[in-house]
């Protein structure tokens, strides 16, 4: 069952009164996100990630295409849909004079909570997001990390079935980022929330996401699991060998070897599939009388996939 079913979504921003400028933010984006998944949207700045997320969250209207979220059409049934989703973004901002619990309570009331149920929900979220010591502190006095946690608490106030996280760990210390990631993983694990997140941090995407779409210039260039993405763009895996003699001329021509390079006494062979090619190479080297002193196999990380796709 799909949480999001978007087809051929287009969005163009127009600006300027005298000289009209057009920015094509989305050019026919289609995506299908299954319920209960953590789904990542990666891409360079200005790729269209936030635009797409905002359309899915009913904050922006698409120019073309169809978007169904949790079974609701985003244009015709936006109000019903808003009850069931929520959003938190990096660089969060809320009313500066309100205290942490007042912010959560304000949004809770907007979603129909009141009385004891509202108080209980505020207590739960303050505890969940580790905000207990700060619940009576005004928003303007909080650190960036605490503000981010307030944003996360606010985004959970209506018990959403679908949560959009727009760069949720932007600007956070590594330890705080780690805790936010743990929260996100726990939300899916314990509450079955479907989560769509945009991020610049490849490690975050690799750690959290079941599936990733890479978006650039308003188009999805690639999608799949992190492993599939790496395979799709044929970055290959690296087999590093310490040999005696140190170089072997025919290695670069061996089947499945995409390229070879020497670095610090190691011969690094990029291959299409390490699991298949390593035994073949070892057999061939042995047959050629070459002594293999050490072997190291490494997969490319998502960072490399990102760099490759962003070119």
């Amino acid at each position: 069952m799909l949480a999001i079913d978007a087809r051929d979504v287009t969005k163009t921003f127009r600006s300027g009164w005298l000289r009209r400028r057009e920015t094509h933010a989305l050019r026919g984006v289609s995506l299908a996100v299954p319920r209960g998944a953590i789904w990542g949207l990666l891409g360079p700045n200005g790729a269209g990630k936030t635009t797409l997320l905002s359309i899915l969250a009913t904050l922006l209207t698409p120019d073309g295409g169809s978007v169904t979220v949790l079974g609701h059409d985003v244009l015709r049934e936006a109000t019903a849909l808003r009850h069931r989703l929520n959003m938190a973004s990096g660089r969060p901002s809320f009313l500066w004079s309100l205290r942490v619990d007042e912010i959560i309570a304000f949004y809770g009331r907007l979603y129909g909570l009141h009385g004891a149920a509202l108080r209980r929900r505020v207590d739960q979220l303050v505890a969940l997001c580790e905000l207990v010591p700060f619940r009576r502190v005004q928003y303007s006095e909080l650190s960036t990390g605490l503000k981010q946690r307030v944003a996360l608490a606010k985004s959970l106030v209506n018990d959403p079935e679908l949560l959009f996280l727009d760069e949720p760990t932007l600007g956070l210390d590594p330890d705080v980022s780690g805790r936010v990631r743990q929260h996100i993983a726990r939300l899916r694990r314990e509450q079955g929330i479907t989560i769509v997140l945009t991020t610049h941090y490849m490690r975050e995407a690799e750690e959290l996401c079941d599936e990733i779409a890479f978006i650039k210039a308003g188009q999805i260039l690639a999608r799949g699991t992190p492993g599939e993405l790496k395979r799709q763009i044929r970055l290959g895996e690296v087999i590093a060998l310490k040999l005696d003699p140190a170089t072997v001329a025919w290695l670069a021509e061996a089947p499945g070897v995409l390229r070879c390079a020497e670095a610090d006494g190691w011969v690094e062979c990029t291959v299409d599939e390490a699991e298949k090619r390593l035994p073949e190479l070892l057999r061939a080297l042995h047959a050629d009388g070459v002594v293999v002193r050490n072997v190291r196999v490494s997969e490319p990380d998502l960072e490399e996939v990102f760099v490759e796709l962003a070119k």
Partner: protein, 264 residues
């Protein structure tokens, strides 16, 4: 939406505005300083000019009405302005609420603040200048205040629409729009002194009628046959128009992306 959800959303906005107001010294400044300065300076001017008590009451009613309208309409404009200033616009419009909740919730706080201003200025007017603002009786005062609050609601919602249409560049409207009412609605003079074309515009402003009706209790001849009914009818018309304009501005902001830009 159920009635309970409707009331809760209105209450949420009212509580938010009240909390924000209670924590900002400038809100108190807005509430007390300018209205008091207005009544004291205008009152002293009426003395200097040697106006009769009837003429002084004419001017002071206008001054008090202007202060009440100003404070209340600013509060309605805060429905959007607070979120524009705090860059949290998108969170508000991500929630399943309508613009009626925003404007009515803010208006309720505006009514409380406007009523407080009215009582304060009435007391000040009586103590400093012997002006008995409550002399026409509570029903007349109630209708007069209703007129002020309806005008404030309309101006405030129109300001919200303009801000949502043009972004925070348009926030100056929040402070300047009431001055248009000052010039046109006969705050310090009867609209009969205005040139015909301007008087026609003045006749389209609901506050003009409510001022006229209230001043009639102080012995001034009414310029209109049924000022209260006309004022209420015009208010209903403008309220609907302002609401539609705000709704259309929100739809446009969702289309152009301004809703997101105001959150960055």
């Amino acid at each position: 939406m159920s009635w309970r959800s409707e009331l809760l959303a209105v209450w949420a906005v009212a509580v938010r505005n009240a909390l924000m107001a209670s924590r900002n010294v400038f809100f108190f400044f807005e509430l007390l300083f300018w209205p008091i300065v207005g009544v004291v300076s205008i009152g002293l001017m009426t003395r200097f000019l040697g106006l009769t008590s009837q003429q002084a009451s004419f001017v002071l009613i206008g001054t008090i009405a202007l202060s009440v309208v100003n404070v209340c309409q600013l509060e309605v404009a805060y429905a959007v302005l607070l979120d524009v200033w705090s860059k949290s616009v998108k969170h508000q419009f991500l929630a399943p609420i309508g613009i009626r909740h925003l404007t009515v919730g803010s208006w309720l706080v505006g009514i409380v603040r406007g009523s407080a201003i009215f009582v304060l200025l009435a007391a000040l007017g009586w103590w400093a200048f012997g002006f008995e603002v409550l002399a026409p009786g509570f029903p007349a005062v109630g209708v007069f205040l209703l007129g002020c609050f309806l005008t404030a609601w309309i101006v405030g919602v129109a300001v919200c629409a303009l801000i949502t249409l043009f972004g925070n560049r348009a926030e100056a409207f929040a402070w300047s729009s009431v001055n248009l009412v000052l010039v046109l609605a006969g705050i310090y003079y009867p609209i009969s002194v205005l040139p015909d074309s301007v008087a026609a515009i003045a006749a389209a402003i609901p506050l003009t009628y409510f001022l006229d009706a209230y001043r009639a209790h102080f012995g001034f001849v009414s310029e209109f046959r049924t000022p209260i009914a006309t004022g209420l009818a015009l208010s209903a018309l403008y309220a609907a128009l302002a609401h539609w304009a705000f709704f259309a501005a929100i739809q446009r902001a969702r289309r152009t992306g301004l809703l997101l830009k105001m959150s960055e």
